[in-house]
């Protein structure tokens, strides 16, 4: 159960961080007219196609004592980043990035441009327009982004294994734990954990699809 709790904690951190850094990135992707925008779009989508081991490998190298991130971390906090919970969060943020950014971009783009024009003409600057118009109208996208990045982090395996290793209570997440138990032929335990994960994943997807059908929204359907 310790592993499940750890996974939940990791997923919650990652979802929260991704909402904060995903919003400005998604905003830029949705509204920029820069011709080279596809470069950032491709970069954001990269974790979707990259094998987790590749991402994990580079993350590990960067976080190692001789990597740039590792050096920075040691200078700031006096200890390394690899095989720590913080390191795990960092790698997971990278890995789940598209799952947060893409729903946000889609919902920002879905907001009628004329509403943004109306807001500007009424004297609102871009930050007020974002808070009062774009964000409330993108609420389903925000919920989807949070839920998907939470669920995706919960189920990750390769990246965790590469960056976190398998330290009980620190980096041994539920998917690693299941793998361990199968390796040591504890099928009953593995099944129990797997079922819990299955149930969580299913309910999370139910939330996402329910929201996207606009089963509930704070305003009446069009």
């Amino acid at each position: 159960m310790e592993a499940l709790w750890l996974s939940m904690k990791l997923a919650a951190w990652v979802a929260a961080i991704l909402l904060v850094i995903g919003m400005p990135v998604a905003y830029w992707l949705a509204y920029s007219n820069w011709r080279g925008k596809f470069l950032l779009e491709s970069l954001v989508a990269l974790p979707l196609v990259l094998p987790p081991t590749v991402l994990g490998f580079y993350a590990l190298v960067a976080m190692g004592p001789r990597g740039p991130l590792g050096k920075l971390w040691i200078a700031l906090f006096g200890h390394g980043l690899a095989f720590t919970f913080s390191g795990l969060i960092l790698a997971s943020v990278l890995y789940s990035f598209p799952f947060a950014v893409q729903p946000l971009v889609a919902s920002f783009e879905g907001v009628d441009r004329r509403l943004l024009d109306a807001s500007a003409v009424l004297g609102a600057g871009s930050s007020r327009t974002f808070c009062r118009v774009i964000l409330p109208l993108s609420l389903p996208g925000v919920v989807t982004a949070a839920v998907l990045s939470f669920a995706h982090t919960l189920g990750e395996f390769g990246v965790v294994l590469m960056v976190g290793g398998n330290l009980a209570g620190v980096t041994r997440t539920v998917s690693i734990d299941i793998y361990d138990r199968v390796q040591s032929l504890e099928y009953g335990e593995a099944n129990r954990m797997a079922l819990v994960l299955l149930a969580i994943s299913f309910s999370v997807l139910c939330v996402v699809y329910a929201v996207n059908r606009r089963v509930w929204t704070p305003w009446p359907a069009k």
Binding site: R114, D117, A118, A120, V121, L122, G123, A124, R132, P136
Partner: protein, 371 residues
């Protein structure tokens, strides 16, 4: 920019190029002036009306030009001035209205009053909702409000900020004439005290007649004429404008000869033998011209008429009669097809039927040359 002197006259000189493949590139190149009160921007769709409004509001950036509202310079490419949209004090009612769907009518209206104290904000929102007779809908969201009332709320929202200029992009489309007139009356009443220039975009001839003020006609990115509605729309000089202004017959013709002393010229319609007299225009014998004639300006007779001042009498046959509302649309074949409007009473009295021989009578000055 909030100036000390109230904005009273809007002048805009705008040049904006929209690049696109082939026919989709378009150049807006206009110079307009609007004094306090309603100035109508009239023209077919694609004439550049919305781009013009967007430029004044600061939502589109002209390639070059100068836009001044009263004493406030909003845009001046030569001096590098481009006041951002939120600071221009222009109010804009979009064709789609763009009411915020997640906010109530009152929240929509007070959206532009963010700098005021809560009580004052509420007071002003309530006052303007009352002025536009929608105070009962304060708590409703746009989805729960009917078309005409939404238009009133959109107007209230844009005017509550005490703008220096009001831009209206076909704000009353889809409303019946009575409702339109009522809303325009409320708008006029509001502006009687404020005296700001209002640019009112429409492509409906009916609306121009109802508003009855200064008209600027745009076509293909240019101002083609400006003045009183009668002068601008009853003598359209361009084909698309003529179509928009309700000229049902636009015929191509060849100039036969000019009669300078009479102020007329004879033209042959299409490839037919049908010749008519039209007002003298800048043309030479052999030139191709377009002649626009309103369907309502053509007389229809069942016998060859005599003793008329009208110079153009053509005989032909009715191809079809189609009643639309209180008008019957007759299509008459005089080698070229004319559309003629008659009343249902005339159809009965003259026993008009398809196939019947008729004569069309056309005054010279009902024929307009268009480009």
């Amino acid at each position: 920019m909030a100036g000390e002197v109230k904005a009273t006259i809007l002048t805009a000189r705008i040049r904006k190029e929209r690049r696109g493949a082939g026919a989709s590139s378009f150049i807006l190149d206009v110079s307009i002036e609007a004094s306090p009160g309603i100035t109508i921007l009239f023209g077919p769709s694609g004439a550049g009306k919305s781009t013009l409004l967007d430029s004044v509001a600061g939502l589109a950036r002209p390639d070059e030009g100068r836009i001044v509202a009263g004493s406030d310079v909003l845009f001046d490419s030569a001096r590098g001035i481009d006041v951002p949209a939120p600071k221009r004090r222009t109010a804009y009612v979009f064709q789609t209205l763009a009411l915020f769907p997640h906010l109530s009518a009152e929240e929509n209206v007070s959206y532009g009053l963010m700098d005021l104290r809560e009580e004052e904000r509420q007071e002003r929102a309530e006052a303007i909702l009352r002025a536009f007779r929608v105070e009962k809908l304060r708590k409703q969201r746009p989805a729960e409000i009917s078309g005409g009332e939404k238009q009133r709320i959109a107007l209230a929202r844009s005017l509550v900020t005490e703008p220096g200029v009001l831009l209206l992009d076909e704000p009353l489309t889809g409303l019946d004439a009575e409702l339109k007139a009522a809303i325009v009356d409320d708008l006029r009443a509001w502006n009687a005290a404020k005296g700001i220039p209002i640019l009112y975009v429409t492509h409906s001839r009916e609306e121009v007649d109802a508003l009855g003020e200064r008209v600027i006609a745009l076509d293909n990115g240019r101002v083609v004429s400006a003045g009183a509605p009668m002068d601008v729309l009853d003598a359209p000089r361009r084909k698309k404008l003529a179509q928009a202004a309700g000229f049902e017959n636009i015929l191509s013709a060849t100039v036969l000869d000019l009669r300078g002393a009479d102020g007329v010229m004879r033209v042959r319609l299409g490839e037919s033998a049908c010749e008519i007299e039209v007002p003298l225009g800048y043309a030479a014998a052999g030139n191709r011209v377009q002649v626009a004639v309103r369907a309502g300006d053509i007389l229809l007779a069942t016998e060859r008429p005599h003793g008329l001042s009208a110079r153009n009498v053509m005989d032909g046959r009715i191809i079809s009669l189609e009643q639309r509302g209180t008008t019957v649309i007759a299509r008459v074949d005089c080698e070229v097809i004319f559309v003629v409007h008659v009343t249902p009473g005339a159809v009965r009295a003259l026993e008009l039927t398809a196939g019947r021989r008729v004569w069309l009578v056309l005054k010279t000055h009902s024929c307009h040359l268009v480009e």
